[in-house]
Symmetry: C2
Subunit: 244 residues, 2 copies
């Protein structure tokens, strides 16, 4: 009996821990933890359902890919009212490219949740993007389309999607801003500090000063990204001056 | 003044007619008619927006394709709990194939709404599928995802999607039923009559009798489809006998 109790106990403790980690990443309480568990179950475990069919994250990857495609299409349709179908298709391909999805999965550090028989470092780089898609699929099952759309806005579109950059018009807001400051004899300074806060992931915060006046702030999982976010915000704040 | 009045009048009359036709197909009152107008604007008209960029249904086609893909993915995920990612992808490709979408567009007779400089009969067959996707895009903009999902269920999934058929297990419920009746010495009869009702489209209704007893009914835009729908219903009703 003691043995059974121990198993049950350790199992629910594990669930409790997973629940809290998911809640932190999601920003809400997951309703059905099973969906998220499936999103992190690797095929190497050879888990099966009651009919003997495999359970792993690949089915959720299929679902997440489709939902992500739909949300991004809708965003681009509204954001780019003058773009034709070809441009919209191209822009979406860039946003949901394997490379981009891998980056998103890396930033959310999804790999550490994977349940697998393969040592963590032996996964290829694509595991990040695959997990990210499966995770989106799980959110969709757990909370529905609108909720999932909000998650994608908060975690994909707002921090990472930049139409001007994707169109190749601007490659770096930071260099653009530095150049403009040099030309206009202004002093630019980035003040960066590591900031873990209550997050699972390490974050960097940055304040951007022009002529000793704070213009904007940025926060991301790398110093470079935080600087770029702050630069972009400063760019939009100063746009009327920069584009003169 | 009279001239202007005439134009305004004839324009709003035309809108009123279009509104009623859309309402009939959609099963609800369209909120913003402009979306539906765009869904039927062919590029040959060379219409442009205030920035000089083309207005035609191609942008909406991009949106509708993505929404349709997401709704079908979600349907298949739930309907086929044992299918792996590859099978799900294959099934979705079959459902949203150009051929299948053309058929859907044909059944809704969408071509007759097209605003174009090209004579109606000179469009290729793909116009049906393209219009169908653009129409889905317009519904999504007008009423949102959940509403659009319901429309797709009612107009695509329920009448046309048949997992058993798509899996190649059953190719025709009618032949399956006829064969079973022959083997079991039962008399099968299809009673078909044309039935326009209040619909824009011509419909056929069919009653299916086995040994002079009505077993099921079907209704569709062709005799063949109505018979197949009735046969499918009869199949599920008699399944416990047929599969013995």
């Amino acid at each position: 009996m003691n043995f059974i109790k121990k198993i049950t106990h350790s199992h629910s403790e594990q669930d409790e821990e997973f629940f809290l980690l998911m809640k932190k990443i999601l920003g809400y309480r997951p309703r059905n933890l099973e969906f998220y568990k499936e999103a992190f179950t690797h095929s190497s475990l050879k888990k099966t359902n009651k009919n003997g069919h495999p359970i792993n994250y690949e089915r959720l990857e299929f679902l997440g890919d489709a939902v992500l495609g739909s949300v991004i299409a809708n965003y681009l349709f509204k954001k780019m009212p003058n773009a034709d179908e070809g441009t919209l298709t191209q822009m979406r391909s860039k946003i949901v490219s394997r490379e981009h999805l891998n980056e998103l999965g890396k930033d959310l550090e999804l790999k550490k949740f994977v349940d697998s028989t393969i040592p963590n470092q032996n996964f290829g780089d694509n595991i990040y993007g695959n997990l990210f898609e499966a995770f989106i699929g799980a959110i969709h099952l757990d909370k529905g389309y609108s909720f999932c759309e909000k998650f994608i806005y908060r975690n994909v579109i707002e921090p990472y999607v930049d139409i001007e950059k994707l169109e190749g018009k601007i490659t770096s807001y930071k260099s653009l801003l530095i150049e403009w400051c040099q030309k206009n004899k202004k002093k630019i300074k980035y003040q960066v500090y590591e900031d873990t806060g209550n997050d699972v992931l390490k974050h960097f915060s940055v304040k951007l000063f022009i002529d000793n006046e704070m213009v904007s702030k940025g926060r991301a999982t790398s110093k470079k990204k935080a600087e770029e976010i702050a630069s972009k915000r400063a760019f939009y704040k100063l746009q009327h001056l920069i584009e003169q």
